[in-house]
């Protein structure tokens, strides 16, 4: 199997197998989690098949035509970056889905849970391998939607609903900004294909000199920042912690939130090397890194601490990818890529521990915990290694990438010169200090110290191997990557970095570098970090006091106010626009018809009523017309529902008859059938309501209604009279094309049908989707009415 096929299957397999998951569940019952893990493992193996070529420095791209006329193709680009993300997504996927077997109670709605996890995994894989921007956007929004459903997994908890809505509003809206950015980028470069722009020097120069460059960058960056919870958009991530813990570990620490980072890495070759890139990406990164690291202190929920820590760690990555100058486009790329991989391992591990602790103690409040090391020795060791890696303690992998971060910061500061040579490394160290402090808090708060006398269950113990083994595997990776860095560096980091920098990359990562500036910065971090930890409680108290005193200094305050206000405005709007009685809508619709038809008719037609009208109508047609007029009058005048409805359907049948005389059998057939069905449904509905018009119509309303009807029918009459004269000059008849091409292109003699199912098949697909939605709509309408009673 070639790599392209392997990747295509790896992306679509989760969707297909998730589709049949409810059927499989009937057989496997509560073992269904293992089926989901097996699917993830299959995807992982398929990606692994494509890996060797990429490690040797090749890139593969292949496209399938989708909408070629718009430049939108279905296209996969397989390079170091996408394969590394593919491994992270499917690998963590296997781990999380296996772990879920122990975590999720058998009483939960398991098929929905695993189905959505698999949908998410497929979307995420599709996104990282996308070469076409529109395709990337579609998968991108799919991850937002699946994330929304997973955060809101417990539908009855108000906070889950709040968190899910918040995440969807922010990330999906950010995605729309990104789409706008892609469209501008397409307008400048003329292509939606990312590798084409990446590998073409002249297109990049054109873009860098273009006046819309900054707008494009800002739009795409908003998309990335909202997804990765950077800058003011960070507020959705802490609320997303309402999701089941494995979901938080998978989506909101290891994969989905890294989509923004992925996007930044993906467009790095296109936009880097400019001041705007450095100021925006690194600027927002440094700001978020410090703010989120600092705000982690006042969190008492262990998942809350991890959420803020994730925001801060993602900001590290942003900062590093942002380090750029005109001559050195990617100073922090290697460090960022390595840290990205490491963060996925240690943060997922910590989330799994958080899940274990919450599962065993039935609380997530860190203030109620302590001294659990004796009761949960294995969990204690796992948590310590994960947290120490995050804090940057050697010989764990977090230490290596943090050293690289410091090194890149020193270099960036040095290249900028002046005060920056001190400022940037100092800010980096400050970020490290916060990380160190809250990492230690996690270990100390949960496992060390004294066990509180009340609030915890009496018997707490390590969980089963189902939940421990995934975490132990991650710990193994943490140590392996730390002690033998050449394994990840050679297999993942070098191909990725060379893909981003567009040149061969050779990295030498070692545990011991000698006494270098980064090493000194690490020592300073530990020293200040320990000092800060001694004041941890005081800082948290100060933050709480500050928050209570100045509630308006917070993004959440403005988010809540905006959403509340929007609810208010929209409900007013819909009350005004949808008052209820169908008459209002019909009136509005008819008035619109008058305007829409009158204006073009007056503008285009030379005379409103053509002079040479042909009134040579056969007698039998005249008779039909007379009957039609009688039926129409009957429908309008009859005072009882049943005769009125029958008059109306009589009119419909007469129209059908007319179609036969006018030689339109398809139309006649459709008309008669639809009329029959509509009449039956109509009769069923009116059988339940009083059989007389009880409403008294004032003469004023009557006059107005008659006026509108007369106006509409005159307008339609004039339009039809004109239409029968043939096509008005600026337009051409469209029917010639279909008459000529129907047989050779689609092999059908019935042009109407060929247009419906072939030439305009996409429209028909939309129409039948509407029919299905109408079916659901009626179902909801009829059944919700029942609930109110």
């Amino acid at each position: 199997m070639d790599s392209f096929t392997a990747i295509t299957i790896a992306v679509f397999l989760p969707f297909v197998l998730a589709g049949i998951l409810p059927a499989v569940e009937k057989v496997l019952k509560d073992k269904i989690g293992w089926y989901a893990s097996a699917v993830a493992l299959l995807s992982l193996l398929l990606i692994a098949q494509a890996a060797p070529e990429v490690i040797h420095g090749e890139t593969i791209q292949k496209s399938i035509q989708w909408l070629p006329s718009l430049g939108i193709n279905f296209s996969f680009y397989i390079d170091g970056l996408s394969v590394m993300f593919g491994f992270i997504v499917s690998g963590i996927g296997v781990i999380i889905m296996s772990y879920s077997n122990g975590y999720m109670s058998k009483k939960e709605d398991l098929p929905r849970y695993y189905q959505q996890l698999l949908f998410f995994m497929g979307s995420m894989l599709g996104m990282v391998f996308s070469a076409n921007m529109i395709q990337l956007f579609i998968f991108w929004e799919l991850t937002s939607i699946t994330s929304f459903m997973l955060i809101g997994y417990w539908r009855n908890r108000p906070m889950s609903v709040y968190g899910a809505t918040k995440s969807l509003l922010i990330t999906a809206a950010g995605g729309l900004f990104m789409l706008a950015g892609f469209l501008v980028l397409n307008a400048i470069t003329g292509t939606f294909d990312i590798p084409t722009i990446m590998n073409n020097e002249s297109i990049r120069e054109l873009l860098h000199g273009h006046e819309l460059f900054l707008i494009t960058l800002i739009l795409i960056f908003i998309g990335a920042a909202s997804k990765s919870a950077q800058g003011p958009f960070y507020i959705w991530l802490p609320n997303a912690m309402e999701a089941p813990t494995p979901v938080s570990a998978f989506l909101h620490s290891a994969t989905m939130v890294k989509a923004g980072i992925y996007l930044i890495a993906r467009i790095h070759p296109i936009f880097s090397g400019t001041d705007a890139w450095f100021i925006m990406v690194s600027g927002v990164g440094i700001f978020t890194m410090l703010l989120a690291g600092f705000l982690a202190f006042r969190q008492t929920d262990i998942k809350g601490i991890l959420a803020y820590s994730t925001i801060s760690q993602l900001a590290y990555l942003m900062t590093m990818y942002g380090y750029t100058t005109h001559h050195e486009p990617g100073i922090g790329v290697a460090a960022a890529t390595f840290h990205l991989l490491n963060h996925a391992t240690f943060k997922a591990c910590l989330f799994l521990v958080a899940g274990i602790v919450a599962h065993e103690t039935a609380t997530r409040d860190i203030t109620k915990m302590g001294g659990l090391r004796k009761e949960m020795p294995i969990t204690f060791i796992i948590a310590s290694i994960g947290a120490l890696s995050m804090a940057g303690i050697p010989p764990l992998n977090g230490f290596l990438s943090k050293e690289m971060f410091y090194e890149a910061s020193v270099e960036m500061g040095h290249l900028l010169g002046g005060p920056y040579s001190i400022l940037i490394p100092a800010l980096a160290v400050l970020g490290g200090v916060f990380t160190f402090a809250y990492s230690i808090k996690l270990i100390d708060g949960i496992f060390l110290g004294k066990r509180p006398s009340k609030g915890l269950p009496d018997h707490i113990h390590d969980p089963s191997m189902v939940m421990l083994a995934p975490a132990i595997f991650l710990v193994f990776l943490i140590i392996l990557f730390g002690v033998v860095p050449s394994i990840p560096v050679h297999n993942f980091i070098e191909p990725t970095v060379s893909g981003i920098l567009l040149e061969e990359a050779h990295l030498h990562v070692k545990l011991w570098h000698g006494i270098t500036p980064p090493f000194i910065m690490t020592i300073v971090t530990f020293a200040v970090g320990i000092l800060t930890y001694t004041k941890y409680g005081k800082i948290a108290e100060w933050q709480n006091r500050f928050n209570a005193r100045f509630p308006w200094i917070s993004v959440n305050y403005y988010y809540d106010a905006t959403v509340e206000n929007a609810k208010d405005v929209t409900s007013k709007f819909s009350n005004r626009m949808q008052p209820g009685p169908i008459k209002t809508y019909i009136t509005a619709l008819l008035l619109l018809v008058i305007i829409l038809f009158t204006v073009p008719a007056v503008l285009l037609a030379p005379t409103l009523i053509p002079s040479d009208l042909n009134f040579d109508i056969p007698a039998y047609e005249v008779i039909i017309y007379l009957f039609m007029i009688i039926a129409a009058l009957g429908a309008a005048v009859l005072r009882k529902y049943l005769p009125a409805v029958i008059a109306l359907s009589g009119l419909g049948y007469l129209v059908g008859l007319l179609f036969i005389y006018l030689q339109a059998p398809d139309l006649a057939l459709t008309q008669v059938l639809v009329e029959t069905l509509a009449t039956i449904i109509f009769l069923l509905a009116i059988a339940r309501i009083p059989q007389k018009f009880r409403e008294h119509i004032p003469s004023k309303t009557l006059a107005r209604d008659i006026l509108i009807s007369v106006a509409v029918s005159s307008v339609i009459f004039i339009m039809l009279i004109n239409a029968t004269q043939g096509i008005i000059p600026p337009f051409e008849s469209v029917s010639h094309y279909f008459i000529e091409k129907s047989l050779p292109l689609a092999g059908g003699h019935n042009i109407v049908n060929v247009i419906l199912v072939d030439f305009r098949g996409y429209d028909t697909l939309g129409e039948i989707a509407v029919i299905s939605l109408a079916g659901f709509g009626v179902y909801n309408l009829v059944n919700s009415r029942g609930e109110d009673e």
């Binding site: 057939l669 039956i680 098949g761 029919i771």
Partner: protein
């Protein structure tokens, strides 16, 4: 409406109309007909049966979930749109060919016909699920 005459006529018409609706569906590519008309015809006769014999009575021995029908129909229609992509053609590209079958002679096979079957199922499912919902007394 549930007179003996209605019931008898419905009983006779039911198989004929269903066959006719299928023939409309299949003939649609070259003669008057097609998925939409065929679907409406199928839905009408089932609706007539419901009316003549009563919804509850029919349901006691024949109660398909019509929502599944339009689900399947939508899937079929969308699938034909995507299948062309698997053969490296663009989205919604249609194909047709002629095969010779004994007794029938030359028969045209078109991918658009599968799409039309999708339309047929959606129309039947959509209309009848609306019908049963509105007509349900509960």
């Amino acid at each position: 409406m549930t007179t003996l005459i209605t019931k008898t006529i419905t009983k006779i018409c039911l198989p004929l109309v269903i066959l006719f609706s299928i023939s409309l569906l299949l003939a649609g590519h070259n003669n008057p007909g097609g998925g939409f008309i065929g679907g409406v015809m199928f839905a009408s006769i089932i609706a007539l049966t419901y009316v003549a014999y009563g919804l509850d009575h029919i349901r006691s021995f024949f109660d398909p979930d019509w929502t599944n029908w339009f689900g399947l129909g939508l899937f079929l229609a969308a699938a034909t749109a995507f299948v062309s992509m698997a053969f490296s053609y663009n989205f919604f590209r249609s194909a047709f060919g002629f095969v010779h079958i004994p007794l029938f002679g030359e028969v045209e096979l078109a991918s658009a016909a599968v799409f039309d079957v999708g339309v047929y199922l959606v129309v039947i499912g959509g209309l009848l699920s609306i019908f049963t919902n509105v007509g349900d007394d509960k």
